[in-house]
């Protein structure tokens, strides 16, 4: 008789890493649609470009590391990283920006550390930080949302013209016509104006800010969908957004002419994307529920500090990387209290 001998349990939930990754990809769709609506075809082209290059780099790495290629390609983790990079960079950044980004993420931040599950830093954020530091000009050229461009919108509305802009990168006159500062940049480089004056005088804030609010709402939607599908828990995003909101409220209440209001902080920039799609990365984040809360608080606080007093207008990538560094430490001190124990164990254990 040839019966199989296996360890219990003998059944398992129809649940797989590729399913988890697929859900994450689906959850990024609202943001992709919002970006396309407000900023043109650029983001979609970047996503396609990023996915292709990420899969190519992933395949090359798996081949060099002698790993089963199809098995790992199918898990979809490279696609998630690629989509997040593509949606984080300016929609009309030159093509090589996103390719360098995916190379950094997949080859350096992921496979050099041992592949899926072993990377200490979030690959997408490593790529973003590298791009921001290496190519500050390209990485800050966000195009203005369509409401502010007027006639030039026709260029960005055409898919082929969008392709030309991304792949040729010669036509600088054209670029100047449609690029503009993001709300956080406007606030950062406002000269001597008070927050209120900036709001009144700058069209990016007075008219265009709803584009960014819309994109944040799209990320939020995707995030709530993932919490509902139990892909991750509410702990990290909730802690991060609450911290950012409370900190900014505190300073705004103290000096409203100097500090941005809390809704701007959570409504623009990378806040929502970071809260639901980056801070929830299980591989590089803290692992216990309590740990996730502390991780989220750390990210929220760092984002506020860097945005307000640092030299970069937004800070998600740096905040995440700094907290990634502290995740193992947080893990050691946030063990839950186990059944039958009076209190939780702390510290590293071992060695005694």
């Amino acid at each position: 008789m040839s019966l199989i001998h296996l360890s219990s349990p003998h059944v398992s939930k129809a649940n797989a890493t590729d399913r988890v990754m697929r859900l994450v990809l689906i959850a990024t769709l609202p943001a992709l649609i919002a970006l396309t609506i407000f900023f043109g075809w650029g983001s979609l082209i970047q996503v396609l470009l990023a996915c292709t290059s990420a899969l190519a780099f992933e395949a090359a790495c798996l081949w060099m590391r002698k790993r089963p290629m199809l098995f790992f390609l199918r898990d979809g983790s490279a696609l998630v990283t690629a989509v997040l990079i593509a949606l984080a960079i300016p929609p009309f950044a030159p093509w090589w920006v996103v390719v360098i980004g995916t190379f950094t993420a997949i080859v350096i931040a992921k496979h050099l550390y041992g592949g899926l599950g072993n990377n200490p830093f979030n690959p997408a954020m490593v790529a973003y930080a590298l791009l921001l530091i290496s190519f500050p000009a390209e990485m800050t050229q966000w195009n203005a949302p369509f409401v502010l461009i007027g006639d030039n919108w026709s260029v960005l509305a055409s898919f082929t013209d969008s392709l030309v802009i991304i792949f040729s990168s010669i036509n600088h006159g054209m670029i100047d016509a449609y690029t503009g500062a993001t709300p956080l940049e406007v606030l950062k480089h406002r000269g001597g104006m008070t927050t209120e004056e900036v709001w009144r005088n700058n069209p990016v804030l007075s008219q265009g800010v709803f584009a960014w609010y819309g994109i944040s709402a799209a990320w939020l939607m995707g995030g709530i969908f993932l919490i509902y599908r139990k892909v991750f828990t509410w702990h990290a995003p909730f802690a991060m957004i609450t911290t950012l909101f409370l900190l900014s409220s505190l300073f705004y209440a103290g000096d409203p002419s100097n500090f941005a209001d809390p809704f701007l902080h959570i409504g623009v920039g990378a806040t929502m994307m970071c809260a639901f799609f980056i801070a929830t990365d299980p591989v590089s984040g803290a692992t216990s529920n309590k740990g996730k809360v502390i991780f989220g608080i750390g990210v929220g606080a760092l984002i506020y500090i860097i945005r307000t007093w640092g030299s970069y207008p937004d800070a998600a990538a740096f905040a995440i990387l700094l907290m990634n560094l502290s995740a193992p430490f947080i893990d050691h001190y946030t063990q839950p209290r186990s059944y039958g124990h009076a209190r939780a164990n702390r510290g590293i254990g071992g060695g005694k």
């Binding site: 692992t287 186990s338 059944y339």
Partner: protein, 568 residues
């Protein structure tokens, strides 16, 4: 109404219980051979009371408990003992173990039974002994000998008696069927347990997916007007785990490393209660139990009342197994059961379910993907552990860290592995880590013992050496003292009491020594002279001296003999 508390985590696997509840309990056939493992649960194996060739009757005790934690074994049917020795048994290791094999005669002839109808009138010790003699072990889980749980002594006060009717594992319906068809057996058993433990509260915990069983028990309790509360808990695996059920019903956590009795709680399974009822009221020892036969490789999926020792193959045949479709054979539930490779192994006291699963039903898990620390395992762990961390520690052999993360509080319920999106066999990793730690501890203990032995030996050798030294010293001292005493004596009375015999002997030997020495010297001289060596002068001198001495000695002796002779 008792408040229902909550336990952390838990899962909702497909129940698959309905399939085996379509028909009432059926009597399984008496097999031609009954195989009775001497060890069917934790504790010590029983000691056989019979020999090959003995004729046994149904219900006759054929093995008695060895030591405290052990249970007696009885012949489930009448027949002849045909073999005592190694046989395949239901154990996760797949190893063989000692068994008694009975060739049944089909007579089903009972031995003399000793029912106790009025158990309240006899001494509790007597009643406990009766239960122990009936070989009753927990029918729900690990099969812990029941009499020990009922005989806690003076140091435990039982506040709450919990009857476990949760039966949370998918597929299994043995307890469900028992409750539907024999609620009064269970309740009488509970009364006997309560009589022994005198708890202030009796709770029966049952999952809400068994409405018929709930109704049957509730009606019976009402009819008999018993002080028993039936607590219906939401269906969530593993609510039937002892610790989880206690938490659900009382809100109390059993401290790590303690037993429920330490917090005033005793848990018994409904099947065990029914077995106690049969043993006490009918005098029938534990020789049969309900077994759920299920899985899509079977034609008839239902509950069977099977004799302990019935080979699985007999039951599978009775349930019309399609062997070509059977892919995996599991004893117990799909979450914690063990897979069986050999269907000749017998039903034991803890066999609540046999699943003959098809490939589609329980396919082998796909290859494991890397852990992405998604934490789904953490959300479902009923012991509030961090399975994802334990996995890394087990894999990296960082056992100290694993212990620090409370590895030994893992109940191996399998909820983590069930939800793992990377299909990692987590429970297997934890079992590995646990056994490695246990081995390490055993090794350490052995090494410590060896060191102790070595040190003891070294100490003994040193001690012996010292003692020897001491004795030598003492002897020397004694000798010195003796000598000093003798000398003093001799000095005090130099010739007062000369021992004439001894004196004479001394003189005689002195004379003979002198003679010998002279002889040797002469020989030497002669030799020297012959060879013309130097120093012959000196030798001559020596010879002359010796001659003198010899003559003196000779004369002294002769004198002495003379005196002796002169004065006899």
């Amino acid at each position: 109404m008792t408040r229902i508390y909550n336990f952390h985590g838990g899962i909702h696997p497909p129940e698959n219980k309905r399939q085996s509840l379509g028909a009432p309990i059926r009597q399984a056939p008496v097999p031609a051979r009954l195989i009775l493992p001497l060890q069917q649960h934790i504790g010590k194996a029983a000691t056989p009371l019979v020999e090959v060739g003995d004729q046994v009757l149904k219900g006759q005790k054929i093995a008695e408990p060895t030591g405290h934690i052990s249970a007696a074994i009885h012949a489930p049917s009448s027949g002849i003992i045909s073999y005592i020795g190694l046989q395949p048994v239901p154990h996760a290791s797949g190893l063989e173990s000692s068994c008694i094999v009975i060739e049944t005669d089909g007579q089903e002839q009972w031995c003399e039974r000793h029912p106790i109808e009025d158990y309240r009138s006899i001494d509790k010790k007597e009643l406990l002994k009766h239960i122990r003699d009936a070989g009753i072990a927990g029918l729900g889980g690990a099969g812990f000998p029941t009499d020990i749980k009922l005989n806690l002594g003076k140091d435990h006060i039982v506040n709450t008696l919990i009857i476990n009717a949760a039966e949370c594992e998918p597929y299994i319906t043995a307890d469900d069927a028992l409750m539907r068809e024999r609620p009064n057996d269970i309740l009488t058993g509970v009364e006997i347990i309560a009589h022994l433990l005198q708890p202030s509260k009796i709770l029966i915990g049952i999952e809400d997916n068994k409405p018929n069983a709930i109704k049957a028990l509730r009606d019976a309790i009402r009819e008999r007007n018993l002080p028993i509360e039936l607590v219906v808990v939401p269906t969530r695996y593993p609510s039937g785990g002892e610790k989880q059920l206690i938490q659900l019903l009382t809100g109390i956590e059993v401290p790590s490393g303690s037993i429920p009795a330490d917090v005033g709680i005793v848990c018994q399974n409904v099947g065990t209660a029914a077995a106690i009822y049969r043993a006490v009221i009918h005098g029938k020892p534990l020789i049969s139990r309900l077994v759920t036969l299920t899985g899509f490789a079977l034609g008839h999926r239902q509950n069977y009342e099977a004799l302990i020792g019935t080979p699985f193959s007999v039951l599978l045949e009775a349930a019309e197994v399609d062997r070509s479709k059977m892919f995996r054979l599991v004893m117990g539930g799909p979450m914690m059961g063990i897979s069986i490779e050999d269907d000749r192994i017998p039903v034991i006291k803890t066999t609540n379910c046999i699943i003959a699963a098809t490939l589609e039903e329980m396919p082998p898990a796909p290859p494991a993907q890397p852990c992405i620390r998604c934490g789904m395992c953490e959300q479902v762990c009923p012991a509030s552990l961090l399975p994802q961390q334990l996995y890394w520690f087990a894999k990296g052999r960082e056992f100290e860290k694993a212990r620090h993360h409370n590895l030994f509080d893992c109940i191996e319920c399998g909820a983590c592995a069930y939800v793992c999106p990377s299909n990692i066999p987590l429970v297997q990793h934890y079992r590995f880590a646990k056994s490695e730690i246990r081995n390490e501890e055993a090794e350490q203990q052995k090494a410590a013992q060896a060191r102790e032995r070595f040190e003891a030996r070294q100490a003994r050798l040193v001690r012996e050496e010292l003692e020897k030294e001491q004795r030598r010293k003492e002897r020397a001292e004694a000798a010195a003292k003796e000598q000093a005493r003798k000398k003093a004596e001799a000095d005090a009375t130099p010739s007062d009491t000369p021992d004439p015999e001894a004196e004479l002997k001394k003189l005689k030997s002195a004379a003979s020594i002198a003679r010998t020495k002279l002889k040797k010297a002469r020989e030497a001289l002669k030799n020297a002279e012959e060879k013309g060596l130097d120093g012959t002068e000196k030798l001559k001198e020596t010879v002359a001296q010796l001659e003198e001495k010899a003559t003196a000695a000779e004369s002294a002796w002769q004198q002495a003999t003379g005196t002796e002779q002169s004065c006899p």
